[in-house]
Symmetry: C2
Subunit: 351 residues, 2 copies
Amino acid sequence: MRSSLKDVAARAGVSVRTVSNVVNGSASVSEKTRVRVQQALDELGYRPNLAARSLRAGRTGLIGLVIPEIHSPYFGELAGLLVEAAQRRSWTVIIDQTHGRADEERRLLKGTHAPIVDGLIISPWALDASELSKEAGSTPMVLLGERDPRQVADHVAVDNVLAADEATRHLVETGRRRIAAIGPQPELRNGTAEQRLTGYRQALRRAGLTPDPVLEVPVPTLHRTAGARAMEELLDRGGPAPDAVFAFSDELALGIMRTARDRGVRVPEDLAVVGFDDIEDGRFSNPSLTTVSPDKAQIAERALQCLADRVYSPGGGLKGTVPPQRITVPHRLVVRESSRPAEGGSRGAGS
Amino acid sequence: MRSSLKDVAARAGVSVRTVSNVVNGSASVSEKTRVRVQQALDELGYRPNLAARSLRAGRTGLIGLVIPEIHSPYFGELAGLLVEAAQRRSWTVIIDQTHGRADEERRLLKGTHAPIVDGLIISPWALDASELSKEAGSTPMVLLGERDPRQVADHVAVDNVLAADEATRHLVETGRRRIAAIGPQPELRNGTAEQRLTGYRQALRRAGLTPDPVLEVPVPTLHRTAGARAMEELLDRGGPAPDAVFAFSDELALGIMRTARDRGVRVPEDLAVVGFDDIEDGRFSNPSLTTVSPDKAQIAERALQCLADRVYSPGGGLKGTVPPQRITVPHRLVVRESSRPAEGGSRGAGS
DNA sequence: CACCCCTATTGCAACGTTGCATGCAACATC
DNA sequence: GATGTTGCATGCAACGTTGCAATAGGGGTG
């Protein structure tokens, strides 16, 4: 059985309240008493009962992380970083998966599943900002990667338009002309794909190229299979083949390269590929993948900082006095084999 | 402010206790009362306060999942499945990462970080079974992928010896003779790598081949980089090159294939590769990866079942009356491009 | 020597929930 | 009609913690 403050108090010969004071340092305690109590604490291996503490204090030390899928490489890496950043603040993270489904997102926003979190970090997928604000309770909330025009909550993201622009420009600068974009998701209310499409078109126009609707291939998800299928579709459309693809996620890009290989299209000689997210697989894929690398550690850190500001400041609740923050984290383009200029292709394909 | 049982009781004109009964269905309530209370519950949007409930009941509905890394593909997929299986039982999962470090494993076993979980599912890495039992508190515990000779807790795993044997046999049967094993981890107390090595040697001997220590390459981790480095080391050792590799994880295998490509070694023509875990990357890698596929969904389901048996049965505690279970889940060998016989290599390399 | 202030310590109450025991009515049984 | 039985509803207490207010002692000051 775990020992409580009462047990420790009995052993040290003091009151329960004094033990509590020693544990929390919340009031002045004489050196002599502190030492005796501390010894009793150690001997009994006292651990505070979180349930009782949070019942009293109204805080649980738990925060919810709502993401589409844990096992997706991008969200997996992000979740790992968040868990660690939370640990540094003595917070514990509860992870919930939505699978990109609107009803799941609604359910979790209402706190159905975890009625106990102090705050939420959510990566919205199916819901747009206005619906988010409607469904949200009074729990402090941070949005990841959502444009959020109404500023309903704090949000942390890279500059998607700029990043997509840079990725596309890189393809243009290495001599590509028929550059496809795989990844628009017209069915989702989340604005991320839209922003990347904007950046892509913007870069094309600046280079004097006209965006071609045939080269913009929508996908149902950002998974590898979706990328593979979209690439098949693109090749089967006939007409001049693309000489480059900007994929809205690394997973899509990996699926695209898979199809390229199956169809005998060489990467990067016949087709340059750029992804987005900088997941670990891309560093070891064959060929290795050029990608936009968001600073994930900083995303995690800043998101938690936002939450901390709200949870611990007096007027910090979602409807409180602290105005919603809008934080842009840095990114950079990492050039690897999948988009290297064609002439240096001696190491380009495995033959 | 969130409403409590008291608020609901006041609104429905009944006692607090009756509302509690309606919520939990724990005692008989007349149809008329139930309807009235239910309406009040809905109107106020009542959500039980987990802190209070668990303070009273001594249960939190939280279970801890202790794994080396969330962002590793294998554990990511497993974590996702566990979270879902837990949800079906109205449990919430808290994930903790150990990074394979012994001190982290010890810390989490003692419940330092999450003093509130009803049970633990742990994938031990650095600690062996005897140390696990020493450090463990009284929290019910399920071990994943650990041999556990002393039967200190329930454990769920595939038959690693058999699986490694089958993987190696497959390489032998497709004509390979110098088969390397990359993945032994002599520094870790976890027995998994050891079992896979046993299965590997066993299959070699049955085929009349003598295990060659030069072909057994230890690694510090199971990551891609470690696989890449181990392969470099193996190739640099001189002597006849291996014509196949059995990697103890898919991640290692992907790193190995990366090095093969960098060194101009063709997979599968010059080198067949088999991995372990069946992570998604392997299905889309180039070439796609032959692997041992453990039934991950079943691992998740059975692990939770074990925990449920202990948490909810009277004598179920770790030191209780229920004897430790030892559950073996099925696996199968999935043959893909990386080990296809050399003669059918028209789709084998990207040239 | 009375007074006050400051430090160290304490007791009480409350957070929201559920286990246990009890109350109360209606109904069946003898 | 008295007694037992059943179905339903309630009140009290307790889980472990902390906020608040109060108390006891010790030393300094007027």
